[in-house]
Assembly symmetry: C2
Homo-oligomer: 589 residues x 2
Amino acid sequence: MAEITLGRYLFERLRQLEVNTIFGLPGDFNLTLLDKIYEVDGLRWAGNANELNAAYAADGYSRVKGLACLITTFGVGELSALNGVAGAYAEHVGLLHVVGTPSVTSQAKQLLLHHTLGNGDFTVFHRMSNNISSTSAFLSDIRSAPAEIDRCIREAYINQRPVYVGLPANLVDLTVPASLLDTPVDLSLYPNPKETEEEAVEAILRLVENSTNPIIIVDACCSRHRCKEEARKLVEVTQFPVFSTPLGKGTIDEGGVGDNMLIEDASLVSKLEHRLKTGNNVSSRFGGVYVGSLSEPHVKEMVESADLVLSIGALLSDYNTGSFSYNYKTRNIVEFHTDYTKVKQATFPDVQMKPILQTLIKKISSVSANYKPQPVPKVKLVNTPAPKSAKLTQDWLWTRVSSWFREGDIIITETGTSSFGIIQAKFPNNTIGISQVLWGSIGYTTGATLGAVMAAEEIDPKKRVILFIGDGSLQLTVQEISTMVRWNLKPYLFVLNNDGYTIERLIHGENASYNDIQPWNNLQLLPLFNAKDYETTRISTVGEAEELLGNKAFGDNSKIRMIEVMLPRLDASKNLIRQAEMSAEANRS
Amino acid sequence: MAEITLGRYLFERLRQLEVNTIFGLPGDFNLTLLDKIYEVDGLRWAGNANELNAAYAADGYSRVKGLACLITTFGVGELSALNGVAGAYAEHVGLLHVVGTPSVTSQAKQLLLHHTLGNGDFTVFHRMSNNISSTSAFLSDIRSAPAEIDRCIREAYINQRPVYVGLPANLVDLTVPASLLDTPVDLSLYPNPKETEEEAVEAILRLVENSTNPIIIVDACCSRHRCKEEARKLVEVTQFPVFSTPLGKGTIDEGGVGDNMLIEDASLVSKLEHRLKTGNNVSSRFGGVYVGSLSEPHVKEMVESADLVLSIGALLSDYNTGSFSYNYKTRNIVEFHTDYTKVKQATFPDVQMKPILQTLIKKISSVSANYKPQPVPKVKLVNTPAPKSAKLTQDWLWTRVSSWFREGDIIITETGTSSFGIIQAKFPNNTIGISQVLWGSIGYTTGATLGAVMAAEEIDPKKRVILFIGDGSLQLTVQEISTMVRWNLKPYLFVLNNDGYTIERLIHGENASYNDIQPWNNLQLLPLFNAKDYETTRISTVGEAEELLGNKAFGDNSKIRMIEVMLPRLDASKNLIRQAEMSAEANRS
């Protein structure tokens, strides 16, 4: 083919980057565009239940695969997606948001079309999205359109932010040279300014040389900007203790057990401990999650008494830092960011973290060779024994599921008791953790789970995707479970039923009826959505949980499963309770 | 009480205007605000399932009661609501959108709070909403806050558009003088400029005087801007034939039968005809719905051959006009708008329709007295007889339900086969029709039904609210049915199951899988949401429909009901099929 349609061009480009699933909904301004998806081998149209869910799904997919595409229709569709797109902006998730718009002619005539505000303004939605986009394009000329599409894909990938593309319906079927596809989209970073980087590296090496007690902290932007490997190598070469933040959890190997063991069996405890000791030489240096004053005491102690902090990809929001309660004793802090590096008070502009980390890894052993590894804190692995009839609690649950997780799992926790509770769990190596700690939009994870499980299926159908969501949050986006059923996907859906919005109750209005929800018969959801091969279970006691998690068949993702976990109304991890107090206080001040 | 909190002040003001239900969701920046709802007698917090649904619900409430209030939380909550708010903007619906924001101190410090974009920008969401707001306020000073709230309420009510109010958490509990409540919010229109109005009236009277074949068309803004009574009187005084548009349907009495009759009984047909003839002297002048070239032939003929058109509150969007296919023979057109009046080519700025119509009503009989009433077209009332076993069709359905509707009903039709199909139904007098014909956001009506049924309950618990929605649209916003259950509301939910997005199939991609949906067991929805007293039915044939609609008990809104109506996949009214062709053509050009 010498020429291909612009619509097909877009999808061929995405397919080249292994964006194999496209999320969104049909609408009359994008229908001919959607036709082109079916022309590209290996591409599929997810067909979401609504646009907000579709945006969440694209976000979840991108967190696993590095880039995602969302398609909506003009006005109504795109605005419904904005909250999800804004979340991707806040949390650095690469996302191409393609909006099918009225034809160029209709726009020029300022027709009062449906899906407009009735005022002839066709740029208003584009303007709104610009506030939450890294860049954008509103295509109008077929000649420049392919280059614009390439530019937008590049920016979404490099900057890991949403990018908006307005694509008028009449351009979709116009053609462009197929040979443009032969040159891949340039995804390389701009090189770091050489002298500036050298100076920064030199300054860092001097700090390392003079340090006896350094630590590394990995945060959200480390994994989102593809620096996990660099972080891993830095730990491997230096053997410095490494900590994550809530948003960074899963970025670095934690050496969790990764075995489906019955941990109430005492004889196994020592085996667990043994396995941990023989973990790889990165995960053995993992010390836990640092959340300022909300950290476990030994984590807090070790981080705050360090004499050098190497911080990779920090995103210092309140819930990620225990309401900004970082309290380092040292002023020797090095921050690696996507667009600059900071050494103590000196900022080195344009020194991007990925290349400088690569340089540093080559040079650092010269100054870190004499470092004497400090012992790192141990994460609690085994629950205090409890009778089988004991009611489930958050504290027991999070410790217990730690030992049910496996290498390669994708673990998704909703903002609320789950995202705070998961901090106490220890991930096996190669785990991906997904939690929207900064943006914190309730209901996000049901959509994100769909996206993650479609991405996981593309990587390895045995890869498990495990969702923990509250009964309140579930209600906001519940219909996306239907899309999971439609695609015969096999996630684990743990619904923590604590009778309403527990995180809000802890912040304010413990017994206020605005924190109540209508109770649903959650276990009827999968049959409602016409699931054929599924499993539903309700667990309320330690014994029921042990039986379920100890069941070998349950451990394989052979079907979609919903597990309703009955928990006390105000039960939450200590860190959430304290965070809630601090948030309430901030609102009053 | 000499002083009351600002939060309470806001709700007392709303209560004074009979805004008795507040829509939205809790979020940590609005919790203390929600406390204040419970301090005001007669006010209730709806507690929606998500923010988009809440916005739709507020829109539906406002269309019944004239004003509504939506409360969301900063960032995540407010952005989720934007599509619903934009719909209210496009379609002229008065809505106060109050957003609970971080405290003034947090904003001043530019803290990287959760629910922000992580860049310290606290005004970005306000800026986004400004694009779809009549006006806005971001409160920061307790001294000016009550006046700002009053101004925003006034603007939302007068302009019938959304207004955005940002309310920082720390201001909620600060106090203001309770005596401010003694002066009602000024809701009066600015007076029309006297001389300009006189000139316009004079010009209109001359046109009427010289006309032998005038007509009146009522459109969306007529009812939204509270001119229904003026329109009614104008028809009554002049006896000119009156037509509505799709968006204006329900604005003027249509004289539908309003009786729960078994119309296959031939002996009743003549009774029906008799009742119609004895309708009031407004409804007897109703000629049908004018949609340009998509109108019924006799409607099109009568409207387009008129020698004078008095157009009240026109909103001339594509779906409202048969893709702009108005084809008046006359150039004698008078347009009454909210902010100007146009007589032929002359624009009279600031001459608002409500006062000028009032003036005109007083004066017009002097020139219309000699008018000889033309016979108006009759709407088809009775179906061609069909065997009981005949499968249901859209055409049969809409004619049949016409005679099941009652005076006072609120009839809500989703964009798609319902909003086009309803055009052929004849409403009983005092019916409110709700359909989002301009904005056309799929899923709107489930939320709008919640709002409308809460409003209806406040007016008269026997008032019926009847929803017609497709199986595809239902999936986008289904969880709001849970809120109906929670409040023990009693709408009729007709789910037209035609196996996917039929309106999209008609536009493009008849058999494309992107127009398919996952089939649900819809009749399991009410038990899933824990409904206690409910009724579910599936009807597929003419006989089943007759049995159901002929059942007297079914006619009383004694419980919540879902009726799944099985319809052929591509079945649609003729006007929708033609509209779809025109839309597809516009996309290509």
